[in-house]
């Protein structure tokens, strides 16, 4: 009986956060959020609350490069909105075409980050409370796997809310429920041993993606276009998870 072949894939680690701006006038000169804010009072409030509840991330590339440092960061720091990891991925081919796949995600609940609460009236920079998610809510899809004629596919997704004032308060003040954000990773391991990794995430928040300990992709939400911002804020907590409506990046590993 042949020995099983074992194949270790590159790990993915990613984090998402909202950049902090004390006031809308502090936003960079060229950005579509200012244009969105000009459309209505509610839009202006939504943008204002979003950036005033921004994170001041104490995140370095070296933290994302190591799984133990990343875990420590998620345990201690409250300056992230959402996080994802798919690591220690080992694919084993046994006899009779049976394959075994081992993988790890983040410990349960760690993928949901925090919203910093500051004093909206005094506009103080001091954070008086960090709330997990918006009202501590979100979800994740546990890994899915498919084995077909092309190869083996593996995926993992996390979903979380962003906002300043909680879901119901967001609805009252801005007319919209807090938008639902997403980060997702897909692996395609072909029969010839080549594999590809596809990172996808919602237009908001900022994201940094590391593969095998190296920076692989990042998304800067300040570069979003007006229609992308509209699609997020008008999703009303639901349709923002529509498939395909996301920036993504594919990497081939030969």
């Amino acid at each position: 009986m042949p020995n099983p072949k074992s194949f270790t894939l590159h790990s993915t680690q990613a984090v998402g956060w909202i950049p902090f701006f004390k006031q809308l006038k502090d936003l960079p000169q060229t950005n579509a959020y200012s244009d969105y804010a000009k459309l209505s009072w509610k839009n202006k409030k939504a943008c204002d609350y979003l950036f005033f509840s921004g994170n001041e991330p104490d995140l370095t590339d070296s933290i994302l490069s190591s799984s133990s440092d990343f875990d420590k960061f998620l345990d201690k720091s409250k300056n992230y909105r959402g996080a994802l990891a798919l690591r220690n991925i080992i694919l084993t081919s046994n006899a009779n075409n049976v394959k075994e796949l081992f993988c790890e995600t983040l410990p349960k609940g760690k993928s949901i980050g925090y919203t910093p609460y500051r004093n909206l009236i005094s506009r103080s920079l001091k954070v008086f409370s960090y709330q997990k998610g918006v009202g501590g809510r979100g979800s994740e899809y546990e890994p899915s796997i498919r084995y077909d004629e092309t190869g083996v596919y593996v995926t993992h997704t996390v979903l979380f809310r962003i906002g300043h004032i909680g879901n119901l308060a967001a609805k009252l003040l801005t007319g919209q429920f807090a938008p639902k954000m997403k980060m997702r990773v897909d692996y395609e391991i072909r029969h010839d041993g080549h594999y590809a990794v596809l990172f996808s995430g919602s237009y908001i928040p900022n994201q940094k993606w590391h593969l095998n300990g190296h920076g692989a992709w990042s998304h800067d939400m300040m570069k979003n276009k007006l229609h992308e911002i509209v699609s997020i804020f008008n999703a009303n907590g639901k349709s923002s998870i529509a498939k395909g409506n996301y920036p993504s990046h594919k990497i081939d590993i030969l």
Binding site: H10, N96, N97, V98, K99, E100, L101, F102, E104, T105, P107, K108, G109, K132, G135, G136, R137, G138, S139, E140, Y141, E142, P143, S144, I145, R146, Y147, D148, T150, V152, Y153, T155, H156, T157, L159, N167, L168, F177, K180, R184, D186, E188, A196, L198, S200, N212, G213, H214, A216, G237, K238, I241, K243, S248, H249, K250, I251, D252, I253, L254
Partner: protein, 175 residues
Amino acid sequence: MNGNTNTRQQSTWAFRLFFQALKRLFVNNRKEFLGQLTEYLQSDMLVPLTKNEERFVHVKSYDTRHYFLNIEVFISFELHKNKGAQVVLSALAKKAAKEDHKYHFVIEPGLEITGGQLLYYTFSNLTSFENNRKDFIQFIQEEYSSIEDIREENTYYWNILKQSKDNNTTSEIPE
């Protein structure tokens, strides 16, 4: 003399009232809230998704956090068509610490395994238990993704990978 006694009595009453208010806020309210929540989480917890569809909540882990002004109970749970086993919350709290984020799949050609949705929610005694319960149901209705939805989404993204197989758009190869 009488004036001093009256002032002392008033101070004592004021202190008692203040102490009672604090006790109500920090002790009784928390106990009552935790009692209601425990009872709720240990009930069948059937949540309506639409007019014709409903799901049972299966609580997977439970974590109580005590803050100066309030308490929060963070739970993870799944939604199923069938009723779950009766939960013992203290045991669940211990279970949450286990390494249940490690996966092992055995798969044959043509097979697909779709991972389910694990949801997270935080109850807080800053609002009434009834408000928490209503908000919890609303959250489930907004957040729920069926296995069919997840499978459809997986197919969409895996097709992107399949279609771009011969059309490499990226040359970055991390060492």
